[in-house]
C-alpha cells in the first residue's frame, strides 16, 4: 500500500498530498474485510441479511448478533468491527430515547442517520481518536413514509438506498440486487433473494462457518424490527443451499 511509510497515515488529522485521509480509508478496509451485510428496500418493508462469520465452532447459536434494533422501529445491520458498531448503535439508542422524550414520537430513520453520520464524522477530525471501523445499514417502515434504507460509512458519509451491500461480498451482491424488481417485490420474496445472495458470496474455502442473520421491518411486523420468523428463514436457507448445489453439479459436468 502506497500510504505506508509516507507518514501521512499516522493520524486522521493529516491529509496526504493528494487530499486523502488514510486513517479513514483503513477504517473502510475493516468494513471490506468483514462478512457481507445486505439491505433491500422493497414495496412493503426493508429486509436485512448478514453473513456472520464464526470465529469458533463452539459459539452459541444466535450470539454476537450483527443485526440489532434502535428503539423498536429501526433495524440495523452492521459490518466491520463489531465492537465499534455496538458503540455507534448505543449512541443511536441514546438519540432515539432523547427524541422520544422530547417530541413524544419515534425518531425517523432519516434524522437518526444524519445524527449518527455526524457523530461518526467527528471521529475523523482529531488526533486522539480513530474513525469507526464499521458501516451501518439502517432501515424502517412506517405507514406514512413507507420503507426507508440508509447506510453510514466510517467517513461519516450517509446515503439513502434502494438496496445496498457492504463487506467481502458487496460487489457480487450489488449486481444481484440490481437485477431485482424492488418496486413490486415483497419482503417474503426479498428474504429468499438475500439468503441466496449471501449463500453464493460466502467463500467456504477461506472462511469456515457462517450464520445467516435475517431480519425485517415491514408492514407485517407492524413497523417493528424483528428477526425473520424461523420457518421462513429455514426455508429460504434451504432454497439457497439447494440452488447452489445445483450449480455445483452442473459445473462438474462441464
Amino acid at each position: 500500500m502506497s500510504s505506508i511509510g509516507t507518514g501521512y497515515d499516522l493520524s486522521s488529522t493529516t491529509y496526504s498530498p493528494d487530499g486523502r485521509v488514510f486513517q479513514v480509508e483503513y477504517a473502510s478496509k475493516a468494513v471490506d474485510n468483514s462478512g457481507t451485510a445486505v439491505g433491500i428496500r422493497v414495496s412493503d418493508g426493508v429486509v436485512f441479511g448478514v453473513e456472520k462469520l464464526l470465529i469458533s465452532p463452539m459459539l452459541l447459536h444466535g450470539s454476537n448478533r450483527r443485526v440489532s434494533t434502535i428503539g423498536r422501529h429501526i433495524g440495523v445491520a452492521s459490518s466491520g468491527l463489531v465492537a465499534d458498531a455496538r458503540a455507534l448503535i448505543n449512541r443511536g439508542n441514546q438519540e432515539a430515547n432523547a427524541w422520544k422524550s422530547t417530541y413524544g414520537e419515534e425518531i425517523s430513520v432519516k434524522v437518526l442517520t444524519e445524527r449518527l453520520a455526524s457523530f461518526a464524522q467527528v471521529y475523523t477530525l482529531y488526533g486522539g481518536v480513530r474513525p469507526f471501523g464499521c458501516a451501518l445499514l439502517l432501515g424502517s417502515w412506517t405507514e406514512a413514509a413507507g420503507p426507508q434504507l440508509y447506510m453510514i460509512q466510517p467517513s461519516g458519509e450517509a446515503y439513502g438506498y434502494f438496496g445496498v451491500a457492504v463487506g467481502k461480498g458487496k460487489a457480487a451482491c450489488k449486481t444481484d440486487i440490481e437485477k431485482l424488481d424492488l418496486e413490486s417485490m415483497t419482503c417474503e420474496e426479498a428474504v429468499v433473494e438475500i439468503a441466496k445472495m449471501i449463500h453464493s458470496v460466502h467463500d467456504s474455502d477461506k472462511d469456515k462457518e457462517y450464520e445467516l442473520e435475517l431480519s425485517w421491518v415491514c408492514r407485517a411486523s407492524g413497523g417493528r424490527h424483528q428477526l425473520v420468523p424461523a420457518e421462513l428463514r429455514d426455508s429460504a436457507l434451504a432454497i439457497a443451499t439447494a440452488e447452489s448445489s445445483d450449480d455445483d453439479s452442473s459445473s462438474d459436468d462441464d
Binding site: 444466535g62 440489532s68 434494533t69 428503539g71 431480519s215 424490527h225 428477526l227
Partner: protein, 218 residues
C-alpha cells in the same frame, strides 16, 4: 426548590378483581379539573408490555409520566430474540420503587395504581400509591372506590369466580360509584388479562343507570 405539588387533572376510582384464570380492571374515562368535568375521554386503563394491565387514578399527567418510565424500562429489555420478560409482579415492585423514590424526593407522582396481569399461571393483582405503599390482594380499589366499592368487591369475591361474574361485579360496583361519587361519568372501560387471551382492554361504553331508586313515591 419547592416541589411539593397538588394534582391538577384527576381521574377517580379504579377497581380491580381477580377471577378464575385472570384479572379485570375497570375505570371511567373522566378527567376532572377540580370539580369541573373537564375531559371526557381519558383512558386510564392501559397496557404495559405483553402481560400487564395498569389502571391509574389521581393526577393524569403523573400517570402518563409513569407510563413513560415503564416504557423506557421495557425498551431496555427488548431484544431481538425474546419479548419483554417483565412479569406483572415484577412491574408492580418496580413501580413501588419508583413511587417511593419520588415521594422521598418530596416530588411524588400523585397516583394510586392498580397493577394486574397473568404470566406463567401466576395471576397477580396489586396496588401502588403516591407514598410508595404497595400490596397484593384478590380485590383492589383506589380513591373513593376504596371506601364504597371495595367492600362490595370483597363480598363478591370467590376463588372460582368466572370472567362473566367478575365483569358483572365490576360493572355493578362502578354503577354504585357513579351514583355516589361526584367525580365520575357513566362511561367506563374494562381491561381483562388472561393467560390464553393476553390483554384485552375494551373501548369505552356506557353503564345503564336507574335513578328511580332515589325518587320518593307519593
Amino acid at each position: 426548590m419547592q416541589r411539593t405539588q397538588q394534582p391538577i387533572v384527576t381521574g377517580t376510582s379504579v377497581l380491580g378483581i381477580k377471577f378464575d384464570g385472570g384479572v379485570m380492571v375497570a375505570a371511567d374515562t373522566l378527567g376532572s379539573y377540580g370539580s369541573l368535568a373537564r375531559f371526557r375521554d381519558l383512558r386510564r386503563v392501559r397496557q404495559a408490555g405483553e402481560y400487564t394491565l395498569l389502571g391509574g387514578s389521581g393526577d393524569y399527567m403523573d400517570f402518563e409520566a409513569m407510563l413513560e418510565y415503564v416504557d423506557e424500562l421495557l425498551l431496555e429489555d427488548t431484544t431481538l430474540d425474546a419479548p419483554p420478560s417483565y412479569t406483572p409482579r415484577e412491574l408492580h415492585q418496580y413501580l413501588a420503587r419508583i413511587y417511593y423514590n419520588k415521594r422521598s424526593e418530596f416530588d411524588p407522582l400523585w397516583n394510586q395504581l392498580v397493577v394486574g396481569g397473568v404470566r406463567d399461571g401466576d395471576v397477580f393483582l396489586g396496588y401502588v400509591d403516591l407514598q410508595g405503599t404497595h400490596y397484593e390482594d384478590e380485590t383492589v380499589a383506589t380513591g373513593y372506590g376504596s371506601y364504597i366499592a371495595r367492600p362490595l368487591l370483597r363480598e363478591a369475591y370467590r376463588d372460582d369466580l368466572t370472567e362473566a361474574e367478575a365483569r358483572k361485579v365490576l360493572e355493578d360496583a362502578m354503577r354504585v360509584l357513579f351514583y355516589r361519587d361526584a367525580r365520575t361519568i357513566n362511561r367506563i372501560q374494562i381491561g381483562v388479562a388472561t393467560e390464553a387471551g393476553g390483554i384485552d382492554i375494551s373501548e369505552p361504553f356506557e353503564l345503564e343507570t336507574d335513578w328511580t331508586v332515589g325518587i320518593r313515591k307519593h
